[in-house]
Amino acid sequence: MTTRALHQLLDLSASRFPDKAAIEESEGDSIRYGELARLSDRVRDRLRQMGVEPGDRVGICLRKSADAVASLFGIMKAGAAYVPVDPTAPASRNAFIFRNCAVKSIIVEAQLADGLHQEFSPVCFAPESIVLDGVGAGVPLTHSLDQLDVVSPAPSTPSAVPDPARLAYILYTSGSTGQPKGVMLSHSNAACFIDWCSSVFQPNEHDRFSSHAPFHFDLSILDIYVSIKHGATLVIVEEQLGKEPARLAAWIAEKKLTVWYSAPSILSLMAQVGRLKDYDYSSLRVVLFAGEVFPIKYLKLLKLLWPHPRYFNLYGPTETNVCTFYEVPQVIPDCQTEPVPIGKACAYCEPLVVDEAGTEILPAAEGELCIAGPSVLEGYWNLPENTAKAFLPGRDNRWYRTGDIVVELPDGNYKFLGRRDRMIKKRGYRIELGEIEAALYRHPAIKEAAAVALPDDNGVSVKAFASTRNGARLSTIELKAFCAENLPLYMVPDLFCCVESLPKTSTDKVDYQKLKAMK
């Protein structure tokens, strides 16, 4: 079946499996397909009543839950694009995102609503909100809709006619200038990837998919839509549980998950401290990882402890969704010390490797990977210059420049070598070091700031350098707390170093190489 609009996937599964559990939450509460579809219809109708029209944006600031899934389907059924934000990120960052793409409405938890609205008021931006008392099995969402219906009933309306070119969601990623930027993705962008997953992973209604990634992270696209398309059960990994490898390892076995998808970091940690030998993982049939390099020694360890599932390395920036993949062989040779490659292009993608001038290079030479095809983003929200720069100039096809330097191996697989810019991946999160620096510059005592990524046993750590206006030393604790107020926690630097002044190159730019070498 070819997917045309994401919201149809839920209605199709609801008609086939109305009484099957669609979403199961960490503590065991669940919602059935029929109920989930009806709840999303009510969200659609309420949003329409609030004036949301096809082409609008609607923000979501909810913890992962059945309520959140019903909300994003309801938004798409109303013809709008959903804009999910990290409920644990600072309110100022989330408010920036919602203002930036001018959301018409917001679906938000009460405990987060005040912080958001305080940020809005100075700039006369006040989108109408559906406020939930909490989240869990769709109950708080139902309650909020009931209350709104008492005041003004929302008549039932048909869902938006599927339009593959319409925006389905906007995912904000770290921006190098200090502000996050919105990656615009249409229904057809996501649909080609979802249909490809159907053919490669052969999911069915008996599968139990993990939902480890947060909904503002593009790994969630596979979790939510592939699971729902096939009438499987999406099992939500609550945020804190998802960070605790020992507890998580036991939970995966208890929940009898069949498909796991996450960044490699949590898999590495589970291999190291999860006591995986103590539990029964016979249900697990597919392990997918993406978002950063999986250190080979921990991948080998994981495969020893979980020998039977198939393992796939999925690669691709948010802008293209997954665009290459590699199935890890049953046995990784002992002598292999390099990470596994990112593999070959998915069926819907066309790859091209170019040099700095944008010219196609010979096979086996290093260059930047560019991707064309139906999964490639529409553009960045309201940033026409960034959008133009994201593509190779002077070509008919829209070749998205990934910024990743790769080399094609003799067997046709691509190997990831590094970045051409200052973007890094840490625990699967995409971080522009420039955004961290911009946050540090907001500190009143800081004169100069720079951040570098240093390799460590679990991937990378971020070290920040700062010089102060009066030469005084700043407290690391205070700096971390300051960063945590301005950045998501995963962007807070691991280490700080106060310096008199930052080292410069001969052209008076910050000398990052020297900073990396500083002890």
Partner: protein
């Protein structure tokens, strides 16, 4: 080993490993460790490993949670309860 000694040992460990150069007085018994990014998820695991080896205790997965590890006071209470 009493509670102040436990706090002092954990404090020294965290200062050396995660806050090199920090003024020890800035890390108080109530400084939030996990919710402000002083300890990320990997650092928390290393602290747990330190607690287990240094104090000869074993922490269960459900004990290695933010309520028990977010401050020096909470950590000391946890260790005391395990040693009791």
């Amino acid at each position: 080993m009493d509670e102040p000694e436990i706090k002092a040992a954990v404090k020294t460990y965290i200062l050396n490993e995660y806050l090199p150069g920090e003024d020890p007085a800035a890390l108080t018994d109530t400084t939030e460790l996990m919710t402000t990014g002083i300890l990320d998820s990997i650092a928390v695991l290393k602290v747990v490993t330190f607690l287990e080896s240094h104090f000869g205790i074993t922490l269960e997965p459900h004990e290695a949670v933010v309520e028990n590890l977010n401050t020096l006071s909470a950590i000391a209470r946890l260790v005391m309860s395990k040693k009791a």
